[in-house]
């Protein structure tokens, strides 16, 4: 398979930042009461991840190794602030609900860890695709959780009323979010067990 495609696939399933690497969990539960919110935050993460990966990849030779981390943080903060200014122009209603977490993208461990592990070593094109992969993996995770919680919590999908009643309201509450993620993670583990015959140990969480 083409390496670039492989990088994207890698981010989507085998190293999905939410379910497999268990990085940056906070937004995964907090904003995903609906698909729309998950989509919005996911797109913001894709934007920040891709742009920071590219920036770091281009300027990697200029960044002194000792100030690497502060420089990365500034780069991320830069793109976060940019998206934080753009989103309210595009969709003010959804932005209101995810505002705090868009600002908090700056501390998402997934982004800085990709900069450190990948973009600081690789050229621009693979870095771009790696950023895309991780970003879309994140987006996919958020949308999956969002869809489950929105459907069971409010009987809707993407704001369209499907059931007409609330099947299990707890799903849109904090407790339901934790349950959903726990069960999705267990499902991922179960699939891996069925395929490889080994019970995986979930990744370090931060």
């Amino acid at each position: 398979m083409n390496r670039n495609l492989k990088l994207i696939w890698n981010g989507l399933i085998p190293e999905n930042p939410i379910f497999r690497l268990a990085l940056s969990m906070c937004p995964a539960v907090a904003v995903t009461t609906s698909v729309e919110n998950g989509l919005m935050l996911g797109l913001a993460v894709v934007f920040v991840q891709v742009f920071s990966s590219c920036t770091v990849s281009i300027f990697k030779s200029f960044i002194h190794p000792r100030i690497r981390i502060p420089a990365y943080v500034i780069v991320i903060a830069l793109w976060v602030t940019v998206i934080d200014m753009i989103l309210p122009v595009i969709s003010p209603d959804v932005y209101k609900k995810v505002e705090l977490f868009v600002k908090l993208i700056v501390v998402f461990a997934i982004i800085i860890s990709r900069l450190e592990l990948f973009a600081s070593k690789e050229p621009l094109v693979p870095s771009f695709f790696d950023g895309m992969g991780m970003g879309f993996g994140f987006l996919f995770g958020l949308c999956l959780i969002g869809a489950i919680r929105e459907f069971f919590g409010t009987g809707q999908l993407l704001g369209y009323d499907i059931l007409g009643f609330n099947p299990l309201l707890i799903m849109v509450l904090p407790a339901g979010g934790f349950f959903v993620i726990g069960f999705i993670m267990a499902t991922f583990n179960w699939f891996e067990y069925k395929i490889t015959g080994k019970i995986p140990t979930s990744g370090g969480a931060h």
Partner: protein, 302 residues
């Protein structure tokens, strides 16, 4: 030592470049963001006036904001000050005492469009007041005007809900009959109090005249099913009710009290109190304002 110097310079450079980019993006987006905010507010107001999404807004519909200030004059007296739009795209500050007698009318030398920004408006008001007096922004109400005739009013209100404040907006027609209620922000419990935002609850207020509002109560009876269907446009459509039938059902229940949401009596009562007190206060003030405008022969824009 040289290395430290190098590190410092490069970090500073990174920061400066980042700030410059941010400054650029900020300058580009700030205006659009503010416009967007205004647009959302405008849409809420238009929706309340009966021009929801998808409906064409007539070109001669104008919505004029009227800002109310509480002014403490240099002699220590408390006055009310209304920032009113007048003909020829000008603005005045009309002062009146607490019982509604007009006192002074001071022209304000600011473009009406700049008044939507609170800081700019506060400055403009303070600039025309004599030294030593203080002003405190209180409320904005909107007057809708269509082709020189008053179409209605949109009044914001706030009420203590179950957990935090419920912010709402009520639209009235010129005879002070409620034409719409919107909840602009609320943090009630999902599935219980949050149902106040649903149209079947909000639309119970529609059509209530000021006399009906004054003795409005909340009852803990279940909402009659056909009334519920008539109140919710989507449900009415699903049930196949014709507009005439909907109108008929609504008229039949017009004098009913507000049916509380099941399990959320507190939120229902809060909402009802909020709507009633908002309308009562507004009607009281508008009468005084209209009298003052007549007395002073002020050529207001609406």
């Amino acid at each position: 030592m040289k290395e430290i110097f190098k590190i410092t310079v490069s970090l500073t450079a990174v920061c400066v470049v980042a700030s410059l980019i941010l400054g650029f993006v900020y300058a580009k987006t700030e205006h659009a963001r503010k416009l967007n905010e205004e647009k959302t507010e405008q849409q809420t107001i238009q929706g309340l006036l009966g021009y929801g999404a998808g409906e064409k807004i007539p070109s001669d519909l104008k919505v004029y904001p009227v800002y109310r200030y509480v002014i403490t004059s240099d002699k220590g007296k408390t006055l009310l000050g209304y920032v009113l739009p007048i003909k020829d795209n000008k603005v005045v500050l009309a002062e009146m005492d607490l019982s509604g007698n007009p006192l002074k009318i001071i022209p304000i030398t600011v473009e009406p469009s700049a008044l939507s920004d609170k800081a700019k408006r506060d400055n403009a008001v303070n600039a025309v007041l004599p030294k030593g007096s203080k002003s405190l922004y209180a409320q904005t109400v909107f007057v809708a005007d269509m082709g020189g005739k008053r179409l209605g009013y949109v009044v914001p209100g706030v009420t203590q809900g179950f957990k935090s404040f419920i912010k709402l907006m009520v639209s009235l027609n010129p005879d002070f009959t409620v034409t719409g209620v919107a909840v602009t922000s609320a943090e009630e419990d999902p599935g219980l109090g949050a149902e106040i935002q649903k149209s079947f609850f909000r639309n119970q207020f529609v059509g209530k005249t000021i006399e009906l509002l004054k003795k409005l109560k909340v009852v803990k009876e279940p909402l009659p099913p056909n009334y519920a269907a008539a109140l919710d446009p989507a449900k009415a459509k699903a049930k196949g009710l014709t507009p005439e039938q909907v109108k008929e059902i609504k008229e039949k229940h017009l004098k009913d009290n507000i049916y509380a949401l099941t399990g959320a009596t507190i939120s229902s009562r809060a909402m009802t109190n909020g709507v009633v007190s908002t309308v009562k206060k507004f009607v009281y003030r508008l009468d005084k304002l209209n009298e003052a405008i007549k007395k002073e022969q002020l050529s207001v824009a609406f």
